[in-house]
């Protein structure tokens, strides 16, 4: 598994699952919060990656 994007997805999914079960009760609330967290992880990682793109290190 050498794909950074895939690894980021796996990391985001596993972390979001744990944080969702810590923070929320009830299936509906958990599903909503899980997708909110997952989208935040993925989008902010991509945005952060693009912002760091010009840095030489």
């Amino acid at each position: 598994m050498k794909n950074h994007l895939l690894l980021m997805f796996v990391f985001s999914i596993l972390t979001s699952i744990v944080l969702t079960f810590i923070a929320k009760n009830g299936v509906k609330e958990r599903v909503k919060y899980f997708f909110y967290l997952l989208a935040s992880f993925v989008l902010l990682s991509i945005v952060g990656g693009w912002l760091m793109y010009p840095f030489p290190f």
Binding site: M1, K2, H4, L7, V10, F11, L14, T15, I17, V18, L19, F21, I22, N25
Partner: protein, 138 residues
Amino acid sequence: MEKEAAEEIREAIAPAGPLRTLVACVAGLCMPGLGHAFLGKWDRAITFFGSITLMFALGLQLNGRLFDPSLENFFSILKFFADAGSGLLYWMSWFRGAGVGDPTAYTYDYANVFIYVAGLLNVLVVIDAFDIALGRKR
């Protein structure tokens, strides 16, 4: 009907007592999700065990390093505590000689982050078990 529901909620958030709280926290520190299983929160227990164990195993599989308790410098102490948060997963792997790490591997940095975060998430899970045991949350 409402009375029964109210009684159920009251039972669900009743404090577990100091001994049960201590056992739940220690169990959770030993194995992800074990504290919740002890408190009867099986959905959380299974989820935490599965997710954190998978994250830790992926970290090892991707050539991550388990930082040992050698206390070389400040950052390796922090890395050790993050890794050791996984409890027995860390200690069993460490005693078996796993997690040597290969800094030249393409996935080395990612793998280390997987192992750190697995340990840190388990610490959060233990705090969650503590709150449940004290009746602060359901």
